[in-house]
Amino acid sequence: MTGYILKRLLAAIPVLIGLSIIVFLIMALIPGDPAQAILGNFATPENIARVNRELGLDKSLPEQYFIWIFNVLQGDFGRSYILNRPVLDEILDRFGATLILAGTALVLCSIFGILAGIASAVRQFGWTDRLVTLVVLIGISLPSFFLGLLLILLFAVQWRVLPASGMFAVYGGGDLPDLLYHLILPAVTLAVVATGVVARLTRAAMLEVLRQDFVRTARAKGLDENTVIYKHALKAAMVSVVPVIGIQAGFVLGGAVYIETVFQWPGIGAMLVKAISTRDILLVQGGVLIVAAAYVFVNLLADVVQSLLDPRLKT
């Protein structure tokens, strides 16, 4: 097992290098002269040359990349010139909030998606199945940012039972119950789309597995239908559902951008949106890189869980 994890970790390294190259290249494609942008219209050519030298922009692209990645590996992501503080500090301040939000959403979508998918497959063509199919269809067609606004209108404005924004109460909050209270709406909103996708795929996987020969063997042994479905079929179906949950981690981390903006959740997503409008490029670069790396590790985790379920994958 340790050998397998080590092998997956090693395989993640080229992916991380690839991610860093893409992030670097995208930022290098920025049209116009960054020095000009920083100094404004009244910059003298000497000043522009000086800033270019300071930013390392007078060197070739590969050189620039190696300097940048070398600094990143040492924790130096550069300085946000709008916030006037190191990019890493800002990211570290906000990363926890995003992890709490996205992690909760991922847990919610796994639980409810799998349960709904099973219920739907077991009662195929029945009322439960139709209801789940309908809710899933609505869920994946509804823009999450719009759903967030609707939930705020209902729960925060109309019924006044849940807070509309923020992570903690402004006065006197800060403990766990307060956090959970603020977490409900954004986490549920973020989880809806992913829940739909997980439910759909769980249903399909269950129906596929229930036609396999080994399920017939389970029946031929004289096992009752519950054991056949919830032990034999479910375990086999989970092998194909787990990687789907890994992929949902990507949608949840990305979708956090909308949800954090709608609910003013102090995470990396909201930070990115602000940084893009203020053209705070280094902050965007660092934020995207960190979130993408987190996604790589969640997928790695999904691989490991999948191999625990299916001994055939460990080789």
Binding site: V15, G18, L19, I22, V23, I26, M27, L29, I30, P31, A121, V122, Q124, F125, L137, I138, L142, P143, F145, F146, L149, L150, L153, V157, R200, R203, A204, E208, R211, D213, F214, V215, R216, T217, R219, A220, K221, G222, L223, D224, E225, T227, A236, V239, G250, F251, L253, V257, Y258, T261, L272, V273, I276, S277, I281, V288, V291, A292, P311, R312
Partner: protein
Amino acid sequence: MSAADTTMSAEVDADAPPARPTAWQLLMNNTLAAAGFWIMAVIVALCILEPILPLPDPDVTSLAERLAPVFSEGHLLGTDHLGRDILARLFSGMRVSLVVGVTASVIAAFFGSLIGLIAGYARGRVDNILMRGIDMLMAFPYILLALAIVAALGPGLLNALYAIAVVNIPFFARNIRGITVGLAGREFVDAARLSGKGHISIVLTEILPNVLPVIVITMSTTVGWMILETAGLSFLGLGAQPPQADLGSMLGEGRSLLFTAPMVSIIPGVMVFIIVMSINLLGDGVRDALDPRLRAGALARPMAVTKIDRKAAPKSDDKSALVVTDLETSFEGTKGTTPAVKGISFSLDKGECLGLIGESGSGKSVTALSLLGLVASPPGIITGGTVAIDGQDVFGMREQEIVALRGRKVAYVFQDPLTTLHPLFTVGDQVVEAVQAHQKISKSDAWAKMLDLFRAVRIPDPEQRANAYPHEMSGGQRQRVGIAMALANDPEIIIADEPTTALDVTVQAEILALLQNLRKERGLALLFITHDFGVVAEICDRVAVMRFGEVVEAGDTMKVLSNPQHDYTKRLIACVPKPGQGRQFLDDVRKLAAETQNG
């Protein structure tokens, strides 16, 4: 047209094979997809007609009329914070959103398909480099990559469009590459190559037409996403810039008025929802119509017991352990039911071995599975006959009673134990489970019993092998596990459905010897299903020959072998090679094959 003509043509239609419905007909027969199509048709029509509809200019502000409620005079859907008419803005925004989403989808489809075609056709190094690049793009969380691109290019509708197109390229590239790889190795592509066609011409004329449906399917299932995501970028203020508006930026602007004038944001939000939902409905319909295999979960799940709908339940005086009378099993399809087993009868007494022999498709396996209602249902259905075990009619029992019989009175040994054993449980656990299904004993007692069974079927080193997974064992070992599982509850009858077919010849002989010994030791009744007369001759007391769902000949094995009555039996017997026969055997079989085709 006269009445006679109408009847004539109706008759002709009835005789002709039913025409395969076109993709369009399939799409329109699907109620949800048709609904999606018509909603989209209305929306597109409104977008096209927008310039000639009597609507105010969507960009004209009028602060005097700001935030007029819905249904106010002159403003059907009210006005926004600058007094602009929401209905007019909704129409123009809808048009922008649709155009941007569809354009992004076309760009992604074009470049993604191009990459997929090149990678799949060229293979080798080109494939490797292109697909590694695609993998890298997919390693990003979906929206994040779009954000990074917008960050570099700067906010704006066109840049948002590019960003969404780029992040969707990998989906097309991967799908199209997969199909292309399969097509590039096919005979018709080889033929085109040999006829001197160039690579570009082959890709365009031979491969592209075959991948086109996949491109259309991928487009129809992703365009909804792309509309959502462009709306999302605009909502964040990174897409459409004022005064231009799409549905997303209308929502974004309305957000600040959420508490005072919620309708300003609800209206464009509902519109995005309607558009995306109808596209998703239509997309699913297009996918199902073009490629039914992709229809996830379309197959009905098999029930615990085969559906039973008997016309007759004949009784028999036979007191044998297993008596089958006029068994009929069919498969339900869209065009009525097809019989697979057409009224067969046989009996099997304690300690006896009956061979059920026939070619594939003769109905022998369906017969075996029917006995305890194990035919997958739907589509399977038992339409007639009786199966009596110890004089009790199985098909008259309640579901739990049939389940209780399985593995206890009657146990099965299946053909290929690699697919019939559960791949994710150890073989020991699977046999223990079989023991505990019918015996209320502790886990450790069941474990000990399992080890005894493993010894009985001569699995070497059972304590060790019990912890192995099926894929870690050889074919012969796996089948021994299958037999151990069947013996778990000391059944009276074992139904072995081609238990040696998937094994090589020496292992086959060992397994047959094992079954034969167990039968003698334990006085088991054995129903042995096979297509091999050599095997029947070796172990069966009696034999029934099946063809097209019927028993064509039955009797003592030796009698049938030495003096076959039915033509088909003779042919089956001739299929067993004899030592010293040499090439003569092939000639004989070739002759038989020709006869079979003619007769």
